[in-house]
Symmetry: C2
Subunit: 197 residues, 2 copies
DNA sequence: GGTGCAGTTCAAGCGGTCTTGAACTATATG
DNA sequence: CATATAGTTCAAGACCGCTTGAACTGCACC
């Protein structure tokens, strides 16, 4: 039940308690950033991956690792790893401004890619494995003989169900992609100027 | 990244190592039960909730808490809590056979209900909260004034995206229900005889 | 009442993941 | 080359949820 009832950040959004001093994040930014963090955690990612992406997206312009570190009150090493993950998944982009010497990171506006990543990536390795296990179980059960046929049937049905759920999942990916692609157009506002890599 | 690469149970299904002595579960049962456990964990439930359901479903007839405890090698207290959760969600049923004095637990064959539960339940409390947070952030940002309008726009877009994802999710629920309802007919085999509660 | 067994509750411990912080590498600059 | 700053790696530890096991309740039977 991970991320089911999360406690992080601030109590209710409007509550006056602000015990943590988060860099120089504006309150509204903190809330938005944490909201995204919660969603992302819910989807099986790390909370801070979502927070980093949200910060970069809200700011619109690329930030350095140091800035992220300060704004979100994370450790140097942590930021490094988070950024690497996000970059690997293609949800942020590492850019170097012409005059500047340090790397900066800008949000890829395509959040869908992230969601797609979860589902596809996990599904790939995961569902495959489940199916393998189930059919292996079936094989063993048949080999063992003397297994009541009704139980075998139930095993079959379980495998069938797994396949149907899998199909439903695929459908979800497809529809969600379609659904959100409309929004994507809105997102492409060219706010981030990136050049090389 | 919970449940991303899980290690539990047996290595590859066919591997000859069987270090744990799981009650008197047949090997094929162990594999199937664990497979379901993994799926269920993946979906944000407890692994053992899935294992218990799978065992009950495979056996077809109601088992006592003690039997479950032995078969799955769980603790008394754990079984009690797991059964309570599963019963609350309606995925198992507590029955008392006429002659018998102890409670027995039978699998509700409607797995879909479980899936639906995840999505609906979590979505309810969760997505609502996210939206609340985002609109709260918007309110604060507007109140604060002097927030660059482009940033406000990005915040808006984030909320929009959230709503679209939410819609996609709803769609998923609906379609998956439709998709699996066909299978459901197959599942209703009346294998479990239950009477009162 | 007393005994025994089924079932519940919950503090304490365990196990696994995430974060930290220090050591390390890489790169720019004088 | 020396120095400084940016970025990476990873062992140690913080953290958090799950499971355990013992104490407790409830119930049946003698």
């Amino acid at each position: 039940m991970k991320g089911y009832l999360w406690t992080g950040g601030h109590g209710s959004p409007g509550s006056p308690d602000a015990p943590v001093i988060e860099g120089r994040l504006a309150p509204w930014e903190a809330i938005a950033v944490d909201a995204v963090g919660n969603v992302i955690e819910f989807w099986g990612f790390k909370r801070n991956q979502g927070r980093v992406w949200a910060l970069l997206y809200l700011r619109g312009e690329p930030l350095t690792a140091g800035e992220i570190e300060r704004e979100l009150d994370l450790s140097k090493g942590g930021v490094s790893m988070l950024l690497r993950d996000l970059e690997r998944w293609g949800v942020i982009q590492r850019v170097r401004l012409p005059q500047d010497t340090v790397w900066r990171y800008g949000a890829e506006t395509d959040l869908v890619r992230m969601v797609r990543h979860v589902i596809e990536e996990r599904e790939a390795g995961f569902v495959a494995r489940i199916r393998a296990d189930l059919s292996e179980a079936r094989r063993l059960a048949e080999m063992a003989g003397e297994v009541p046929s009704e139980r075998l049937e139930r095993l079959e049905k379980m495998a069938t169900l797994a396949e149907h759920v899998e199909r439903a999942l695929r459908l979800f990916i497809k529809t969600s992609r379609l659904d959100v692609s409309g929004v994507l157009a809105v997102f492409r506002d060219g706010a981030s100027r990136r050049n090389e890599r």
